[in-house]
C-alpha cells in the first residue's frame, strides 16, 4: 500500500537499496541516484514530446476538418500512434545538407542550445508534493526558468546569422524584437504572483520556489485569484514560444521559415522539438503557477496522483495552445510590437502597483478566502479599466480617421 501511495519515490529508494546491497558505499549510491534522477527528469520530457506531437497533429487536424495521422494508407498503428516514431526515424536517416558559406560552429551549435535550454527548465518543476518530487528546489526557482528561456534567443541569433541567408537574418532580428520585448510582461506578471505568494504561505516560505507557489494555492488556484496576470502571462508566453498569433519568426508567407530555413534533417528536427518543448514548458509553467500544479483531489492520501494531475493540466494547456495555434491569424510586425509596448507592458506595470498595494492593505490575519476575494475584485476592476481605456482609444481613432479610411487595428 505504501508503494502505491508514492510510487516514484519508492522506486528510487528501492534502486538505491539494491545498489547499497550490491556492496556500494552510501555516498557513491547517492551520487549514482542523483545522476539517474537527472537523466529521468531530462529524458522523460524528450520522450513524452514524441507522443505530444502526435496529439498536437491529431487535434490540429480535427480543427482543420482533417483526419490527422492514421493507418488508412500505410499502417501506422491504431489512430496513427506509431506515426511520430516513423517520423523520428525518417528524420535521423535524412541527408544533412550543409549550405555554402555558413559559419560552421555557430550553425551546428544553435539547435543544440535550443534543446538544452528546453530540457534544463524541467529541473525545477514540482511533479508532486514534497522535496523528492522536484529535481532541484532552488531558492530562485522561477527566476532560473526565465534565465534559461533567454538562451533560446541567443540560439536564434546564432542560427540566423551563421546560415548565410537573408531570410534567416530577418527572422533573427524579429526574434530579438519579439522575445526581448515579451519577456517584460511575462516577468512582471510572474512578479505579481510572487508578491502574493508570501501572503498566502507566510513569511517562512520562499515565494520564488515553484513548490511554494503550488503550496500557496491550497485554498484556490491562482487562475481564479489573479486572472489578469494569468492572461498577461499566457499571451506573453505565446509570443515567447513563437506561437500564433505571434508567429512572426517563421512567418511562411514572408520569411519562408525564418531562422531555420537552412537547416535540414535532424538539425531541423532539433529546432522543431526545441520549440515544441518550449510550448510544453510554458504549459507546465502555467499549470504550476496558475492551475495549482500537482494539486487535485486525493493527493493527500496518494501523493503519486499529484504527478498525474500535473500531467493532465499540462495536456489541457497544450490543447489550449493548439486551439490558439489553429484558429488565430498572424499579426503584422507593427501590431505585435504595439500590442506589447503599448498594451501589455503598461497594463502589467499598472497591475503590479495596484495589486501590490492592495495585497499589503489586507490585514495579516485575514483568511485566505477573504484575501482571494479582494484580489479577484481588484483584478476585475483593473481589467474593466483596461477595457474602458481601449474602448475610448478606439472611439477617438474612429472620430479622427477620415470617412471611408480603414481604421487601424491593434491595441
Amino acid at each position: 500500500m505504501d508503494f502505491l501511495r508514492n510510487a516514484i519515490v519508492e522506486i528510487g529508494l528501492w534502486i538505491e537499496g539494491l545498489l547499497i546491497n550490491a556492496g556500494l558505499a552510501e555516498p557513491a549510491a547517492d551520487v549514482i541516484m542523483t545522476v539517474v534522477g537527472a537523466f529521468v527528469v531530462g529524458f522523460t520530457p524528450l520522450m513524452i514530446v514524441v507522443f505530444l506531437i502526435w496529439m498536437y497533429r491529431k487535434v490540429s487536424a480535427r480543427i482543420g476538418g482533417r483526419m490527422g495521422p492514421n493507418s488508412s494508407g500505410t499502417w501506422a498503428g491504431p489512430w496513427g500512434l506509431v506515426q511520430p516514431i516513423a517520423d523520428v526515424i525518417k528524420m535521423f536517416t535524412k541527408e544533412d545538407i550543409r549550405p555554402q558559406g555558413i559559419d560552421v560552429i555557430p550553425y551546428n551549435l544553435a539547435p543544440i542550445i535550443i534543446v538544452v535550454a528546453a530540457v534544463m527548465i524541467w529541473a525545477v518543476m514540482p511533479f508532486g508534493p514534497g522535496a523528492e518530487m522536484v529535481g532541484a528546489d532552488l531558492n530562485i526557482g522561477i527566476f532560473y526558468v526565465l534565465a534559461f528561456s533567454s538562451a533560446a534567443l541567443i540560439a536564434f541569433l546564432m542560427a540566423g546569422w551563421s546560415s548565410n541567408n537573408k531570410y534567416a537574418v530577418v527572422g533573427a532580428f524579429r526574434a530579438v524584437a519579439q522575445l526581448l520585448g515579451y519577456e517584460i510582461p511575462q516577468l512582471l506578471s510572474i512578479l505579481i504572483v510572487v508578491m502574493v505568494v508570501s501572503s498566502f504561505v507566510g513569511p517562512q516560505g520562499n515565494p520564488l520556489s515553484l513548490q511554494s507557489i503550488v503550496e500557496a494555492q491550497e485554498g484556490m488556484i491562482f487562475l481564479v485569484v489573479l486572472p489578469l496576470p494569468a492572461l498577461v502571462f499566457w499571451l506573453a508566453s505565446l509570443a515567447e514560444i513563437n506561437a500564433r498569433p505571434f508567429e512572426l519568426l517563421e512567418a511562411e508567407s514572408e520569411l519562408v521559415a525564418g531562422v531555420q530555413i537552412e537547416y535540414s534533417a535532424m538539425k531541423w528536427g532539433m529546432f522543431y522539438v526545441g520549440e515544441f518543448m518550449g510550448s510544453v514548458a510554458v504549459s507546465a509553467l502555467f499549470a504550476t503557477i496558475f492551475l495549482g500544479g500537482w494539486r487535485g483531489p486525493w493527493v493527500d492520501t496518494a501523493p503519486v496522483l499529484g504527478t498525474v494531475w500535473f500531467l493532465l493540466k499540462i495536456l489541457f494547456m497544450l490543447n489550449v495552445w493548439t486551439f490558439f495555434q489553429m484558429t488565430l491569424p498572424r499579426l503584422r510586425i507593427d501590431q505585435m510590437l504595439a500590442f506589447n509596448w503599448k498594451f501589455l507592458v503598461p497594463l502589467s506595470l499598472f497591475a503590479i502597483c495596484v495589486i501590490g498595494v492592495v495585497n499589503k492593505l489586507i490585514p495579516e490575519g485575514a483568511t485566505s478566502w477573504l484575501r482571494s476575494g479582494i484580489l479577484l475584485a481588484t483584478n476585475v476592476v483593473i481589467l474593466l479599466l483596461a477595457w474602458a481605456v481601449l474602448a475610448i482609444g478606439k472611439r477617438r481613432r474612429e472620430l479622427r480617421a477620415p470617412a471611408g479610411a480603414g481604421v487601424e487595428v491593434g491595441a
Binding site: N139, F143, L157, E183
Partner: protein, 164 residues
C-alpha cells in the same frame, strides 16, 4: 575537492573565452566567446552559493547585454568582413596602459588582506539580500539611485530616437 575541480573548470572556461574574445578575427565570433565568458562567471557564482547572481548573470548579461552587443555589431560594416585586423595604430599606447592597469590591479590584489568568513552561507541568502536592498539604513538609497539612473537612461534613449 569537487568544489576546487569545478572552480578550476569554470575559471579556465572564463579565461580561455576571454582571451578568445580579444584574439578572434571575426567580430561575431568574438561576441559568442564573450557570451561563453559570461557563462563561466555564472558558474563561479553558483560555486559561491549565490544562485540568484548566477541566474541574473545568465538573464542580464547573456540574454540582454550579449544580444545588444550582437545587434550593435550587425549594424557596423566590420562584421561583413570575415577577417578584421586586430590592432590599429594606437596599439603601443594601449599596451602601456593595459600593463599599468594590470600592475595596479596585481598590487591591490597582493597588498589587500582578503577577509574570510568561517560559517557557510545561510539558506536564506536571497531573503537577506532582498531585505538589505530595500532597507533605508543599508542599501535602500543606492538601490533607488541606481533605478533613477536606469529610468534616466530609458528616457534619454526615447528622447534621442523620437521623431520631431
Amino acid at each position: 575537492m569537487t568544489q576546487l575541480v569545478l572552480f578550476v573548470i569554470f575559471g579556465a572556461i572564463t579565461l580561455a573565452a576571454a582571451i578568445a574574445v580579444v584574439t578572434a578575427r571575426n567580430l561575431f565570433h568574438a561576441v559568442l566567446w564573450l557570451l561563453l565568458a559570461f557563462f563561466g562567471v555564472a558558474g563561479l557564482y553558483v560555486l559561491l552559493e549565490a544562485p540568484f547572481f548566477a541566474a541574473a548573470q545568465l538573464f542580464i548579461y547573456m540574454g540582454a547585454i550579449g544580444v545588444l552587443i550582437i545587434y550593435a555589431l550587425m549594424l557596423t560594416r566590420g562584421v561583413m568582413r570575415q577577417q578584421v585586423p586586430l590592432v590599429n595604430d594606437q596599439w603601443a599606447l594601449v599596451a602601456v596602459l593595459a600593463v599599468a592597469l594590470l600592475a595596479v590591479l596585481s598590487w591591490l590584489f597582493l597588498q589587500h588582506t582578503w577577509p574570510t568568513v568561517d560559517q557557510a552561507v545561510g539558506p536564506d541568502s536571497l531573503r537577506t539580500l532582498g531585505e538589505a536592498l530595500v532597507d533605508p539604513g543599508r542599501y535602500g538609497f543606492p538601490f533607488e539611485v541606481a533605478s533613477v539612473l536606469l529610468v534616466m537612461a530609458l528616457i534619454g534613449a526615447v528622447t534621442i530616437v523620437r521623431e520631431r
